[in-house]
Amino acid sequence: MLRGYEGVRYISDKQMVVFDIGSAYTKFGYAGEVSPRGIIRTEVRCSESKKIRRIIDYKDVEDLYQLLVDFLHLLFFKYVVISPKDARILLLESPLAVTSFRDTLAKVMFKHFEVGSILFLPSHLATISTLGIDTALVLDVGYQEATLIPIFEGIPILKAWQALPLGGQIVHENLKRYFRDTSDLDLSENILEDIKVRTCFVTTLERSAKLGTESALTPPPDVTYPGIKRIAIPGEIRERAFEVLWERDNDNLSLPTMILDAIVKCPLDTRRILAENIILVGGTTMTKGFASRLKSELLALIESDLYKAKLKVESFKFHTAPSKPNYTTWLGGAIFGTTDIPLRCLTKDVYLKTNRVPDWSNLIDNQKDETSYEI
């Protein structure tokens, strides 16, 4: 796995630790490595209630602080096994994520664990590091939501961002509703996730159109889920579980319209290039049939009245990163983390002095620098 000299390459320097803390799973590892050291659930046993709690279920900032202390402690001492003091951390975060989460995370890192520096890297931007190109339309379908930011020539086109609450969670809810209504079973999220991962898939566009109508085709075979109590999973629900991602909501939005809407919002001369450089990341995109369904939905939509007049794009092309989609973003961070650019890091000294994390949406950090016009 290692090239002969590869191990030696980073041994002298303190390696950067790369975290991608997702809402369902956390990917962790070291910069310069080809895959994360591990992927664990973003949950921890709460030291107060002593129940396993997911980080995203935090009640308030104080609660989040405590959960993060517990969770990062677990990460540092059980999984990454590194002394956090003065460590260099790279955090992948979505530019659309909650500011209070990011601020609390930085506070825990600096105040409790006393890490040396943190490099916040926008996750969509980091993703293109895995491709060797600088233009891509990055669609991240994770657990809580699907987010999209087009990147052109290395610059995110922020005005075209898209986000919808479509992801693993809504699929789980869909399954949960089904089992509750049909067989009065109240299944835990973990079992639902297991059922989803092991039996469900994204069906084709043609079949999906006929689902629920009289002309529905024979559903795929049923599966019996083993356990203390056997659960019968009908073929129909296996096929329909993911349909919720493709159904248009009240605003006529769904996963494929996110891509098209984003392209429409982009400048005219970037549209074709973006449509031909789509990359799908996030665990939900690994579902069987996801990419092909997305493509056929896109092709069908582009012919529809909604977009026919607005968009003159004929083909959609997809990139394949040298990784599994659920850790592509992490890999982007791991590749970027080898560059060692101290200028971009937020160091402990600076943080303790200013007590805030620079943010793109904050004017203090985004002022036009007068000096820039001197030259």
Partner: protein, 696 residues
Amino acid sequence: MAQTFAGTQKHVPECEISRKNSDETDVLLSLVETASPRKEERSSDAYRRRFVVKVETDTQGSILDHLDVHSNVRSRGNRGEIMTSKDHPLVRPRVSVSRIDDFVVSSGITLSKLGAITIVSDGRTVPIREIWVELESIMTSGWRGRTVGISSEFSLIVSGIMLRSVVSSAASVDSCSLLSLPSIIVSVTEVISSVVMFSLSGRLVDSSGTFNVVMSSMKVVCSSRVAMVVICSFVVNLSSSSFLTVDSHYCPNCMENLPSSEVRLKKNKCSNCFDCPCCFQTLSTRAGLAPVRASALTEGEENKDVKATPKKVYYLFCSLCRWSSRDAGIPDQSVATGGWPEQENPHVTRINALIDYHKVLASIEKQQCERKKIHPKRSFMPATMYSFTSALVRKRIGRPMKPPMQSQSSAQPVPSVASEDVDELSSDIFTETVDITKITTLEQRLQHPEVQAEKINELRPQHRQFLVKRSQRCRVCEHNVSKSDLCPQSTKFKILLAAFYHIPEVKIVTCEPLRPGKSSELLLKFCNPTQHQTQITILPLDTSLSTSLTEEKDIKQEDTQLSESSNLLPSTVRQAPVTEDPKVIKVVSNADLMLPHSSLILPPRDDAAEYDDTNDNHNFQDDPKLVVWRKGNKAVIRLHVIPHDTNKDNEDPVIVGFVMQHGYVNTIAALEHKSPQKVDVKVKLYLTVGQLVGET
């Protein structure tokens, strides 16, 4: 009362747990979770297994959340017998905890008598020869964000004879919540008994100087967490401010201890031990004879000679879920120690090319930064081509609007090519029946992120991860407050400044039934663990802790001056301590405490006096209203609790709070000073004394 938990689909062995029906404790033993073989016995007829019994209590604030009992059982019988029967791969020798009596803390904060454990295999009781007790995660609640460690003693009671301090070990540190402790391993080799009882005692002091003693009822108590804080004697700092560092890495299976540089090379993984890809337990290496190949028979005579002396081959086997490397199609190895094929990530060269490219980009950026001398105060700049305002910045630092061409010429790797083809859903999925047992779970997939195999037989064993030993330092002066022995087998400490040895121990002896508005008697026992006489004063809860704080500050200053002069640590080495915001204590006292007017003097600890029954009293002029009983360095005092009238709801336990002030003689700092320092330390204590009995 016996409870049987069926194994879950994760190959969890079936287990039967019986427990004493104790209403007060309501101790619930959750399922026996895992069973993994420890280091496999190399001797012929012995076979070791490790059982993990998870003991959980469901009372709010129970003392032990988890107690993992790993007992290595050697069976004389053959391996198959103890392991499992062939017809039912899931039937395992059952670990039953035959008696969990009390599970209780006799009083106050000491936990004792955890229970008895019997190992039952196929209905027969297996004699236990060796017991390993590993405490991995004792959870505490109400300790959020504090540095708490644990100090505990183990003693084994075997057949009624108590082998006290078989191992008196104690444990550890944890900067946030006592999430996990390094194992305390009690290993007794001479025990031949089917029942082993063990007890654990410890006590705790909150780091912020608050005792958090919560007692849920008279007999039973739980909640107080077995814990303590470390104390930094240099700054007399109950170390709410200490941080952890990783000391050494070791493999939890083979106990190999490697230097950290080597560990980094091996990616924190043990090169010899493997985890089962199905159930994540440790795999054992099994020897077998090489199967004779049909082709060998047809060939020449030389091959026949080879056949005459069959070669020994080795394969990996999971004794829990019966996964074996043969099932997975991994070829057998001729050496026991390894050479197992590693799965290579097919993208290594591609990723390395990308890494090299990014390094070139970074060096270009660095050169340009140096040339242009960017304003130094902008150290976190959302700058350049990887961030949002990069076009602007590029202009600012004088680069052309397009990224420089030179970077693309030399190091640019082949850009990824997008394609219209995507993985189509195979049409088989609509017709083929699915055997769900052949499909991996997400957990199994994520065990090996690079591959994430979907079929069970594509799973490959993974190297076992190293664990770490940790040490704890004071944030203020960077002195070590707790450091364990480097050797992974050892459970001793090189340095352990546990508050256990410095702060008086408080135990609840008894409390009269509590009624709202009425006074009830509360007996508290104080024990002085130090070598110096101390005076304990009970103060009201709203006493500010400031006096002790100012004194602490004084000491801090003296100490820093001191160490500068004595060059213990050059001042330049030290950084300004990072102060974490203090944790808010959410405990609210709902009862009044009648405070005594006099204080209590406790003589120093005298180990010899333990065995001496004669010279009990030191003739202290005790207030008979306060002191009820006194022996050696211990004394019991009487206090009166009046629960608030408003507290009608019987659900909430009654909590009283007070401030304990005690004299502390700082002997460690005294090594450098001429005379020992005396400090009055104040700590806040909250006691849960029980439930209300009602109006009558």
